[in-house]
């Protein structure tokens, strides 16, 4: 039986169960508010959001691979395209684009025009250092780590801070070869 063809982000999004984006947005807002009350330091909140995103990412990758039927990506360029076109569409219902490739193809920017996490949100003066959507950088980092790519994800542009779009920089640090948990000769 030939392997199933990879499905487009739109097709998968249409086939999964969906919920109202506002429930999602408001729940995320409640999480950020709880973190700010508990941790008080904006840097700590950024780190905690990244950690939460990481925990989500390591589980999200399984669902992504199961539903999207993508074959193994040949290089990092393809990986980034797949994240932007299929991944974001499948989970958040928005498409992202990939730009700003550097010379050796290890660093790129993913640009989001629409972001369901930040509807109705405004950053107050006391939280100007907060990366409100930092959970997304953790998700990408966690998911890629589970497919043997160590990456560093940082925010370049953030609409809540006055920029005109959301831009994440994804930098491939190294590829970790898969290790088998058992020895062959035992």
């Amino acid at each position: 039986m030939p392997p199933a063809a990879p499905r487009s982000g739109d097709a998968i999004f249409a086939s999964v169960e969906r919920v109202n984006a506002e429930l999602f947005t408001l729940t995320y807002g409640a999480i950020v508010r709880q973190l700010l009350t508990d941790l008080e330091e904006v840097e700590e909140v950024n780190k905690q959001l990244d950690q939460m995103g990481y925990n989500i990412g390591i589980r999200l990758i399984d669902e992504f691979l199961a539903k999207s039927n993508v074959s193994r990506c040949v290089d990092f360029k393809e990986t980034a395209e797949v994240i932007a076109k299929v991944g974001f569409k499948m989970f958040l219902g928005v498409t992202a684009s990939v730009t700003n490739w550097d010379a050796d193809g290890t660093c790129c920017s993913i640009v989001l025009d629409d972001n369901p996490l930040v509807d109705f949100v405004e950053l107050p003066d006391t939280c100007q250092g907060l990366y409100y959507c930092n959970i997304l950088s953790g998700v990408i980092r966690g998911a890629l780590e589970m497919v043997s790519m160590k990456t560093e994800v940082t925010w370049i542009r953030d609409m809540l801070r006055g920029d005109d779009a959301y831009e994440l920089q994804v930098k491939l640090l190294n590829q970790v070869p898969e290790e088998y948990p058992y020895k062959d000769d035992e």
């Binding site: 919920v19 589980r59 109705f120």
Partner: protein, 194 residues
Amino acid sequence: MIGVGKIKQYSNVLDKPLSKGKQEVSLSAFAFLFSELVQYNQTQVDNIAELERRLEDAGYAVGARVLELLCHRDKGNRRETRLLGILSFVHSTVWKVLFGKVADSLEKGTEHEDEYMISEKELLVNKFISIPKDMGTFNCGAFVAGIVRGVLDSAGFPAVVTAHFVPMEGQQRPRTTILIKFAEEVLQREARLG
């Protein structure tokens, strides 16, 4: 490129046009997010009652905002003043917007005058959650109970809202009931209004 417009920058979030509320995200995205909320709170508390309270507080904030949003967008800034009015608003409109369907049932409590129950066969938030035996009667529906309490409180109907599992015959998973117990002043006001 000629004619490419720049996206209009709104300096104030209140000036942005309000969306129609039709945008969706995948259920799994919400489920992942909710599980992180519960897991984070588990690290912050020592006992189940604290955990339920924290989830409820998170839901309270959501409920207050949902009420504002729905009143402005769907109800034309009219507010409910009667008890049955606000209950059917929660049971139908709020549930439909948040969970995509109206709640399964709305009942009046038989033992006490001030108790009402909204029941749901399977709460959306509990769909992928199983409670270990040592957590007893803990219910992540406390988040939804918080949402309901937030809506009722902001609408001027203070109440104590809790979520309970009710085992049903012939079904593997128990039904969830949101129990709403209104404050004394609400009933007095309702009696005065006739």
